[in-house]
């Protein structure tokens, strides 16, 4: 049929990941039906294939934070203008990206904007709720949409004006407790990236120039994309006592003395889905790590008409047997097996199971791995066990592959020439750095690279800043970044 012919032609990815990474990315996102452009520029539609990934990320992370005493809640979308003035640094950071509501006939006392992040609106409530040391620590998280009117070129999942995220906001009696948990939640992010997304990351601290507007310090998780650009996967901020002072949050300590608490916030967004696409995908399309894939396998029966009943019957039996893996049974009569293979490879399903008349006779199926393309015949009697093994192997293989890419692209250099060469070649480059805003600015101007993070838990170190040559006590990663 005509409609099919058109689909067939447009089905695959038409550029190579190695040749035109950016176009390859767009095609995978659109053709695997992860997302689509929205009518308003800079916005996106998150389609069911991607939303399912987000739900799996949510489920994984909800378990992690519940274990740590965090409760989910929901705060309002709209924030009064005066709240942005309460913390000057924070306000300045977000002012250019705010979307304000037209006053018109709205009965609001002051201008209101759509939340770009929720520190201010949440801490206004916290000030009412927190009275005594007994109310601390307070740990609240929310899953929501936020809006930042980006002027930079937007890109599906990676930079859109609206995105979905989680933002955790905690209040502690002491700095020590706050420090500890700022690190704790960053560790949970790293575990999520490693275990669920199969993406290796580097944990570190942001320089003052790159830290969150209003933060005391910012911890970050950085991953390296195949095009040599770093992607920030999540951040965890110690906010100090600034917001508490600005919003009047205080508590009576055990000695009945009024004290100012310490606060943290931490977040990751739907951007993680973009990372997933970039890190694992290939020229056939998406590759989903099995742990985040909802449908772990697709079953494609292959037959000519007269054998149909037998083969289809067996395929259904197998589908039922594999229920725990949520297999797709693709028994659509109007598509060819080849078309189906391409379709499910494009969509990243970890394992394909082919069943033909010969397989039915031999009581076996053909199992094909999405990551390596390796085929093997598996007896139906041992299929469940073998599938579980293979899924573990795929998960591990994807992580290893990404890890070896990251390892081979992290270099440590001591000279400015080597630094520039490394950045040009798309490396994460570790250098001694004085951490001054000036040096950072001039490095960015000269190389487009930015500091990604100050290595955590460094041994005492003395060196010369890669840029200005003055004393440097820290080693810092630089890279081009999204």
């Amino acid at each position: 049929m005509k409609g099919d012919a058109v689909q067939e032609k447009e089905q695959g990815i038409t550029v190579k990941k190695e040749k035109d990474f950016s176009e390859w990315y767009n095609q995978v996102v659109l053709k695997a039906e992860l997302a689509d452009y929205a009518p308003v520029r800079g916005f996106m539609v998150i389609r069911p294939n991607a939303y399912r990934l987000w739900e799996n990320i949510q489920a994984f992370f909800n378990k992690a934070i519940e274990k740590n005493g965090v409760k989910n809640a929901y705060f309002p979308l709209l924030i009064p203008e005066s709240f942005f003035r309460s913390d000057a640094e924070h306000a300045e950071g977000f002012a250019p990206e705010l979307a304000w509501i037209e006053q018109g006939d709205k009965d609001v006392e002051e201008r209101v904007a759509i939340r770009p992040t929720s520190e201010t609106i949440m801490y206004d409530s916290y000030a009412k709720w927190i009275r005594s040391w007994r109310d601390l620590p307070l740990r609240i998280n929310q899953w929501c949409n936020v809006l930042r009117w980006e002027v930079k070129q937007t890109k599906l999942f990676l930079r859109t004006r609206e995105f979905l995220w989680q933002e955790g906001h905690c209040v502690y009696a002491t700095k020590e407790e706050c420090d500890r948990e700022v690190r704790l939640f960053l560790n949970e992010y790293q575990r999520l990236c490693t275990e669920l997304l199969a993406i290796p990351t580097i944990a570190g601290m942001k320089t003052d120039a790159e830290k969150f507007a209003g933060a005391y310090y910012t911890l970050t998780l950085e991953a390296l994309m195949p095009d040599g650009k770093a992607l920030q996967m999540g951040t965890s901020h110690n906010l100090g006592q600034g917001f508490a002072k600005a919003f009047g949050i205080s508590f009576l300590d055990k000695n009945e003395k009024k004290a100012i608490p310490w606060q943290s916030s931490w977040g990751f967004s739907t951007r993680l889905i973009g990372a997933l696409v970039m890190v694992h995908g290939d020229n056939k399309g998406l590759i989903l790590p099995p742990k985040i894939a909802y449908n772990k396998a697709v079953i494609v029966p292959i037959f000519f008409k007269r054998e149909g009943k037998k083969v289809l019957g067996k395929a259904k039996e197998v589908a039922k047997m594999l229920k725990q893996f949520n297999p797709i049974l693709d028994d659509r009569p109007s598509y060819s097996p080849g078309w189906k293979f391409n379709e499910w490879e494009l969509k990243g399903i970890p394992i394909r199971i082919e069943i033909g008349p010969k397989d039915v006779k031999a009581k076996q199926v053909i199992v094909v791995r999405r990551d390596t393309g390796k085929k093997e015949a598996v007896k139906i009697s041992s299929l469940k066990k073998r599938l579980a093994e293979l899924l573990d192997e795929i998960q591990e293989n994807l992580y290893k592959k990404a890890k070896s890419f990251l390892d081979s692209n992290m270099i440590e250099v001591k000279s400015w020439e080597q630094f520039k060469k490394g950045i040009k070649a798309g490396k994460m480059v570790l250098v001694p750095f004085c951490c001054s805003a000036e040096c950072e600015k001039s490095i960015k101007e000269e190389t487009t690279a930015t500091s990604r993070c100050i290595l955590l838990d460094q041994k005492p170190f003395k060196g010369k800043c890669i840029k200005c040559g003055s004393e440097a006590e820290k080693k810092v990663y630089f890279a081009k970044a999204y």
Copy 2:
């Protein structure tokens, strides 16, 4: 301590549900820490205690819709002005409540508003995605926030300018399929209300005056609140082909002919949490049906100092044993048992378990039901089993109680005088009705009651309209409403 004294004084609900229902409701919502007022008028903060209920509703409903082939997705918050013009009836319905974004330096081609509902923005995408009969039915749901700038007095959960909801949007090849599933999803709503929330409901069809802006017809689920006002719990609309025509959604049918599909949408909101409070709560506060309660029980150890270790040890043991019920172990030393009893009754925990020194000796605990206040001693060895039984009994009892209230407040009358008397007494009144907009308007003006729904699946019937006396073929429920 001073802080505690203040808390003690303010802890309980200070008005009777029977005396001042509205104030009682506000106090329960605020003091059980379900919600709080936001800084912008008409908005609310959904606190962890209520958000947990919402998550449980989501989990229940996600299972129900997945079974029916629905997939979750996420569409943009902002909708272009021209979309509202595409369907005149729909646009008119929402125009007064839209919040527009200030244009200022925003690079948008046209004015954009925050979604009051997502028909238009979703169908714009559907028009791109749907090509062939193979793409149908398309069933997508989204969980999101929506904003309607209500001018009426707002009320926590029941009417706020922003609320959370789910909106399902399906596309079908035929009217029959559409009709069938419009009913199907209403049935799923009813099942959710019955099984999870323990709230009995009446299913019916809205009159033309009360149906959704742009719908062909609207099915609704109505519950009766203790103050005699009906509350709409969810609606399911057959949208006909109007939106498809307005947004250019068409498909090639099996004969390769272009056809216009039928569409449906269906939604419920965080308002359900308000219903839960109103229907089950009492003068001590919230009562949660066990199935929606996350913490099914609270354990309160009772002891003087020297017995503390033994009692606390046993309480911990019991808590561990009851893990499947997510029990709270309230071992806070600075609150008295009496204070704790009040606290957890206020918050609606279905079962309280008291353990004192005598109980430890007798290898038993005292179990107290939140719904009836009944106490019983239960041997620890059979506690798990007994708790499961009791939770089922509480769930059933709450439903029965609500059902008997509903049944005794639904009356059928034939005269206008009886009608007015019934409405005044806070009844759901079933009457023969001509279904004209004029009669409906004049009934509303005279009694403040509105038509709640046309009884579904009525036997053929001929009567005289309760208002105008002309021929009436339908029986319709009227009530005052939220």
